[in-house]
């Protein structure tokens, strides 16, 4: 009981002294504000990309590519193969076959980036049937759906935000003449929001192609995958790879994810280490400024533990203050900002929104507390071990 009172008294005394040692206290606050801002920013950069990819792929949708193809772009399926795949899907399915599969064509369009004015490659995805059937996450936010057989397309909001000349009603130049953008869609901030969608037959005609890139099929349930895969694999007329959409996208985005994570962890770790050093330094100076005060208290009967705890508490509180400023700063500056990158092997731009969510904020604060604890520990130990007589003789 007595020691608890000592801890409270000691800590309160330390905290009341903060204004007197403004320099050292500010150093800790600023160091942590900087470290947490950077930490949250780099983690959000990587995390938002992973989330955007994760939101795109569903485990009950299947993508069929030609064997060995790493991505839709390099895959190629003939009309006969596509028909076989869709028929197989229909036979495994209880719903109308038209609703469940889409033979897709991937073409790319060069457009000017609204910010830099430089060329950016955007995916034009030709889909068969109504894209809303296969991908219910898509919903139009303005305009209308494209009509099959016409030179019309709809544009994702993420692409629209980033690139110039994609407003509803504007025209996009393609090989056989201009196409009209008739609508804009949102699809829950997923990958497809960076794309243009159109009718596959029109895209094939415009690019004078005769083969599709991939077939995406929606299954009755996640469990139906093995059955469907076995059916396609055993068909001697096909030479295809079958993968769940979520798995395909995870593999496709893996190199970029790895890179972004490596960068985030390296930079985040270094910033935390820097903050720890700054904190240790500042707390040493706090302890040395409080030498006489601590020695006096020890002389009148306070034990060593409250000294240690009060130093650590002070460090952690200052760290926490810095972390909160860092959280506010990173949220204010970076939350919702649009980032674009071209993942390796994908060749077209993916735009995503940097989101700073509760998990990241919690992580930032947790890191700051942990680093603050370490930063207070060593100076605290020194304070607790202070030779009382020697310290008091200085007076």
């Amino acid at each position: 009981m007595g020691s608890l009172r000592q801890i409270v008294a000691m800590t309160a005394m330390g905290l009341r002294g903060i204004p007197l040692r403004l320099g050292a206290s500010l150093v800790i606050v600023i160091a942590f504000a900087g470290a947490v801002t950077v930490l949250i920013c780099v983690l959000a950069l990587a995390g938002s990309f992973v989330k955007t990819v994760g939101r795109t792929g569903r485990s009950d949708r299947v993508i069929v590519l030609s064997r060995g193809a790493e991505s839709e772009t390099v895959s190629s399926l003939s009309r006969e193969n596509v028909a076989t795949i869709l028929d197989t899907a229909a036979s495994k399915h209880s719903r109308d076959s038209k609703l469940i599969g889409s033979a897709e064509v991937i073409a790319s369009v060069r457009l000017a980036d609204g910010r830099t004015g430089l060329d950016t490659v955007v995916t034009l995805r030709g889909v068969s049937g109504n894209p809303l059937d296969l991908r219910p996450e898509i919903h139009l936010v303005s305009g209308r759906m494209f009509k099959a057989g016409l030179r019309e397309m709809i544009v994702g909001r993420a692409a629209q935000r980033r690139l110039a000349g994609l407003e509803v009603g504007s025209r996009v130049a393609l090989p056989e003449g201009d196409w009209t953008i008739v609508g804009a869609f949102e699809s829950g901030q997923d990958w497809h929001e960076s794309e243009l969608l159109a009718d596959s037959a029109s895209v094939l005609a415009a690019f004078q192609r005769n083969s599709f890139n991939a077939v995406t099929v929606s299954l009755d349930s996640t469990a139906a995958f093995d059955d469907f895969k076995a059916a396609l694999s055993s068909n001697p007329t096909l030479s295809v790879d079958v993968a769940r959409e979520s798995d395909y996208l995870a593999v496709l985005s893996a190199p970029t994810t790895r890179l972004l994570k490596a960068v985030a962890y390296t930079i985040g770790l270094l910033m935390c280490l820097g903050a720890a050093f700054a904190c240790i330094n500042a707390m040493y100076s706090v302890v040395s400024a409080r030498t006489i005060e601590i020695a006096t208290l020890r002389a009148i009967g306070y034990s060593a533990a409250p000294v240690l705890i009060s130093v650590i508490t002070e460090a952690m509180l200052l760290a926490l203050t810095g972390a909160l400023i860092g959280v506010a700063l990173s949220w204010y500056v970076f939350n919702g900002s649009s980032v674009s990158t071209v993942p390796e092997k994908v060749l077209s731009t993916i735009n995503y929104t940097m989101t700073i969510d509760q998990a990241l904020i919690g992580l930032g604060i947790l890191c700051a507390c942990a680093v603050g604890l370490i930063g207070g520990l060593f100076p605290g130990l020194r304070a607790a071990r202070l030779p009382i007589a020697a310290a008091l003789r200085k007076v």
Binding site: V27, A35, V42, S108, D119, F207, Q208, A275, A282
Partner: protein, 387 residues
């Protein structure tokens, strides 16, 4: 002689000041090293991009299809007829891998002699260049690719997992290494091989008579824009339109497309450095404040205010330089392992090290400013009378 001893004593004074509180010095050095390590790595990536860009030529044009269709080979004669076009080489890309699917190898099917005429920066023995003309399946490797896979002249190399079907019914392409080319000035690793377009075109099942790109060298870089426009105009009404850009502009777009790297790099460096200056500046101020009496004694002994300022400055310089040297040395050790698109395997650019050292001097000056000024203006009487 006396000057010598005076200077030695002066340095001893600086040294003693630095190590007044060893833990403080160590942690300050740690902070500084981390800041300069971050600076070295991030600025290294940024500067490697700029270097990659600088190496791109303004007088080399890429004639690409406007909409990713195959380009008819027949375009070559039409383009070559435009005044100002000095050299032309059609190019077809054959991506594949060797043994391990992760070990990707990129083949460029072209007219090797013309290709090398457009890129004279590559050096190759004349006999090897002639050899590729005589052997249909011959290829020339970049030295980097040869080193990476341990290939040498005479080896047979089979690319697997290519997207192009051969007349043998599979997608495996076998070539004979006849030469190795080398660009002595390049810091960016380029890893590809040049194959004979005639052989490639006859051996593939689909797409014969088409290529992915024409490489054009113009006689004068100042005419590049005009010639680009002329090339594109030639094919405006053709089914396959072209889009011609200088190599420089193409790579610039590609780098910009990697994302907002520069923006984030600069933000992080700025945040790290701001934090650093505040932290180290405070340490310095404190270290001077602690020594108020000592400095007053020095002044009473005849130290001029300028020498006191120099003392503080020397301390701060020593700390910052030591921190930057440690940080930049670490960055230089780690940087070759950073593989980031156009960057990889290359040493940390010297300009980054130079900038880092310059920056550390700047940081030292800023840090020493306030404490040094205070020390200079110290009133000896007041300082000595307070305890």
């Amino acid at each position: 002689m006396s000057y010598f001893w005076r200077d030695v004593n002066y340095l001893t004074l600086v040294w003693a000041g630095i190590w007044r509180k060893p833990p403080r010095t160590v942690f300050t050095l740690g902070c500084l090293s981390i800041a300069f390590l971050l600076f070295g790595l991030l600025q290294g990536v940024d500067s490697a991009f700029s270097q990659a860009l600088l190496q791109q030529r303004l007088d080399v044009l890429f004639v690409d299809p406007r909409f990713q269709q195959p380009l008819p080979m027949a375009y070559a004669t039409q383009i070559a007829r435009i005044p100002g076009v000095a050299q032309l080489a059609p190019v077809a890309f054959l991506p594949g891998s060797y043994q391990d699917p992760k070990n990707s190898v990129f083949a460029i099917a072209t007219w090797p002699d013309k290709w090398l005429a457009i890129r004279p920066e590559y050096l190759i023995p004349k006999a090897q260049l002639e050899a590729v003309g005589h052997l249909r399946t011959g290829v020339i490797l970049t030295d980097w690719l040869a080193r990476q896979n341990g290939w040498k002249v005479g080896d047979a190399v089979t690319l697997v997992q290519t997207p192009v079907l051969t007349r043998n019914g599979d997608t495996n392409w076998t070539f004979q290494v006849v030469g190795v080319m080398r660009d002595p000035d390049s810091t960016v690793p380029s890893s590809y091989m040049l194959a004979n377009l005639e052989y490639y075109d006859q051996a593939r099942v689909t797409g014969s008579g088409t290529v992915n790109r024409f490489l054009v060298r113009v006689d004068d870089a100042r005419h590049a824009t005009r010639i680009s426009r002329q090339i594109d105009q030639l094919f405006t009404n053709s089914s396959v339109q072209t889009r011609t850009q200088s190599e420089h502009a193409t790579i610039e777009s590609a780098i910009a497309a990697l994302g907002d790297i520069s923006f984030f790099t600069r933000s992080i460096i700025a945040a790290a450095f701001f934090t650093l200056i505040v932290v180290t500046g405070n340490t310095m101020m404190e270290s001077v404040r602690e020594r108020t009496r000592e400095i007053a004694i020095l002044q009473a002994l005849g130290f001029t205010p300028a020498r006191v300022l120099a003392l503080v400055l020397a301390e701060s310089l020593a700390l910052c330089l030591a921190g930057s040297i440690v940080g930049l040395a670490l960055a230089a050790r780690v940087f070759p392992f950073v593989r980031f698109y156009y960057v990889g395997d290359s040493p940390l650019p010297a300009i980054v090290i130079a900038t880092g050292l310059g920056l550390s001097v700047g940081v030292a000056l800023i840090i020493a400013l306030i404490p040094g000024w205070r020390a200079m203006r110290l009133s000896i009487v007041n300082a000595l009378s307070t305890r």
